[in-house]
Amino acid sequence: MLQRKLLVLGLMLSCGAANAQWDRIVGSVTSIGEPTERWVSIRGGNTAYLVDVEEGEVKGTLPLSRFSPAVRPHMTQGKIYTYGSYYKRDVYGDLENVLISFDIETASPVGEIPLPVLPAGIGHSGMIALIDERFVGIWNITPAMSVTIVDVINNVAVGEIATPGCAAVYPLGRGFMMPCGDGTIQYITLSDTGTEVSRARSPAFFDVMADPVFDYAVPTGAGWMFVSLEGLVYEATLNGGGVEISEGWTLNPETNGTKDVNGVEFARDDSWRIGGRQAFTYSAEAGLMMTVMHEGGGQETFEKPGKEVWAFNMTTKNRGYRLKMEGDQTVSAVQLTPGNDPLLLLMTSTGLQVHDASTGRKIRDINVSGNLIQNLF
C-alpha cells in the first residue's frame, strides 16, 4: 500500500512543472483537492465517487470490493474508511475481510486492518459507523448479529459485541444506537478501549409486524431519526442512562383542515408511501426533512423508488412542497448537505440531481449514478 502511494506521489511531483500549453507525453496524476461540506460520496458499482455537488464535478473515486456497503469519512484524519471482502479468485477461494483506509488527498488505499468476523454485505450506510472519532463499528450477520469494533487510532480490531435481534450501527457519543426486532432502540456504551460498558433499551414503540421502522436512520444532532414504513417519524435520544423516543408524527396526516406553509389545505395522501434506498433525510440546522414517495403498494414496497420527493418544514411538521419526477424518472435516494442552506441531492434513475432545498428548484444534473449518497462532513 505505502509503496504504491509513494509511487503515485512520485508521479505527481515529477509532473508539477508540466507546461500548460503542451502536455507531457506520459501524463501525470492529480490530487483530489480540499473537500468541503458540499462533497459527497456516491456508491455506484464497485466504486465510491467523491463528488463536489456545488461545482458539479467528480473529484475522484475509491475502488471498493463487491461486498463493500458504504464508506465512512474521518475528515479530521483526512481518511475515508470502508470494509471489503475479497476472495482469492473473486467469488471462491480464500477469503480476507478487511477494514480499508483511503487517504483522501491521493484517493489511494493506505492501510488495512483484518476483521475477525464476516461483515454484512448489505448496501447500507448504517453498516459502518465512526464512533467518537476513534472507533469504527461494523455490523455483522453470520447469521448471528454482532458489531465489530475497530480502534482506528491504534489500528486494531478490539472485539465483537453480540447484538442479537438488533441491526446497524448509529453512533452517538461514545457508543451507538441500533433498531431492534422487539420494537426498541438499543444503545451500547463503549469504554476507552472499545469494549462494551453498558447497554440500554428504549421502551418498545413499534411493532415489527404491524409497522416497523426503517433500518436506515439519519442523525438529528442530539440523536437519530427513525421513520416507520407507514410514515411515522420518531427521534431517539439519550437521557441519562436510557434511550428516549419522541412522540411520533405522521408524514400522511388525515385531512383535518390543516393548511400547509403555502396556505393550501392538505389533501389526504393515503395512497402515497415512503420508500427508496435512502427514503428520507433531515437537516436540523435548516429545519428541513425530505422523503421519497411512491403511490400504492403494501408496506413491503419500502425499498421501491419514488415518483415524488416531499419536503417538510420541521417547525410546523407540515409539507412545504412536492417535487415531481419528470416522465419515467424515479428517485431512490435523498440527501441534504450540511449547514443552514443545504442542497437537496436526489439519486434518480437518470443520475444525480442537485436542487435548492428551500425551493425545490433544480440547480444541475451531475453525470454520476449509484445508490447511496453520503455526506463527507
Binding site: 456508491r43 455506484g44 458499482g45 464497485n46 466504486t47 463487491r66 461486498f67 463493500s68 456497503p69 471482502s85 476472495y87 473473486d90 467469488v91 471462491y92 477461494g93 477469503l95 464476516l118 454484512a120 454485505g121 448489505i122 448496501g123 447500507h124 450477520i141 453470520t142 447469521p143 448471528a144 448479529m145 442479537p164 435481534g165 438488533c166 441491526a167 446497524a168 441500533m178 433498531p179 431492534c180 426486532g181 422487539d182 415489527v208 409486524m209 416497523p212 421502522v213 426503517f214 433500518d215 403494501g298 408496506q299 413491503e300 414496497t301 419500502f302 425499498e303 434513475s349 437518470t350 443520475g351 453525470n367 449514478s369 449509484g370 445508490n371
Partner: protein, 195 residues
C-alpha cells in the same frame, strides 16, 4: 447522454443491486401467528434470534421423512419453473436456479447450498393448497443473471432478518458470492404436523 453512457450507468446501478444486497422476499400468505406456529419446529436452539428460520443440516436430518407429512405422497404442480410467475416463487427474490443448470431442489453444479434459508408459504393453484417453501441460496459462483425474480410480499428491515430482502443468505457456504436461489417444498402450509 449517449447510448454508451446510458449502458454504463445501467451497469453501475445493476452491479449495486446485485452485489450489495441479495434481495429476498417472504411469502406473505401467512399471518405472524401461523407462521411462527409452523416454523417452531426449526427454531430449537436459536436462542435470542427472533423468528429466523435457521435450517441447519443437522436439524434437517432429524425431520421425519417429508413424504409422510399429512400423508401426502405427491404434489400436483403446473407451470414453468423458469418463470417468475411459478407458484413456488411467491416468496422468491433473486435469480432462479432453474435457469442456471439447477432445479428448484438442486443447486447448479459447482455451487454450494447455504445451510440457512428463508421459508415462506405459497398457494399451489393446481391442488388449491398452501405449502411451506424453503428458499435456499446457492453460493460460491459468479451471479447467474439469467432469470431474475422478485415477488415482494412482507419484506421487513434487516433487524428482522427472517423477512429482510437485503440479506445475503449464503451462510454455511464457503463463499458468500451469490449465485441463485432454490424453492424447496418442505411441507403443507396448512398443517401442524412437521415434527
Amino acid at each position: 447522454m449517449s447510448d454508451r453512457e446510458q449502458l454504463i450507468q445501467q451497469l453501475l446501478k445493476d452491479l449495486d443491486a446485485r452485489t450489495t444486497g441479495a434481495i429476498r422476499f417472504l411469502a406473505g400468505h401467512t399471518s405472524r401467528r401461523s407462521f411462527l406456529g409452523k416454523l417452531g419446529v426449526f427454531m430449537a436452539g436459536m436462542g435470542a434470534f427472533p423468528v429466523l428460520p435457521v435450517l441447519r443440516e443437522a436439524n434437517a436430518q432429524n425431520v421425519t421423512p417429508r413424504q409422510q407429512v399429512n400423508g401426502v405422497a405427491d404434489i400436483v404442480e403446473m407451470g414453468d419453473p423458469q418463470q417468475c410467475e411459478y407458484w413456488r416463487y411467491c416468496g422468491m427474490s433473486g435469480t432462479l436456479c432453474t435457469c442456471c443448470g439447477g432445479s428448484n431442489t438442486q443447486c447448479p453444479a459447482g455451487s454450494q447450498t447455504a445451510t440457512v434459508a428463508w421459508v415462506g408459504t405459497c398457494h399451489n393453484p393446481a391442488d388449491g393448497r398452501d405449502y411451506l417453501i424453503s428458499y435456499n441460496d446457492c453460493c460460491g459462483k459468479s451471479s447467474c443473471g439469467s432469470c431474475g425474480c422478485s415477488r415482494s410480499e412482507g419484506d421487513k428491515p434487516v433487524y428482522f432478518p427472517s423477512k429482510s430482502n437485503s440479506i445475503l443468505w449464503c451462510f454455511g457456504s464457503t463463499s458468500h458470492a451469490y449465485h441463485c436461489t432454490l424453492a424447496l417444498v418442505i411441507g403443507h402450509g396448512d398443517s401442524n404436523s412437521m415434527r
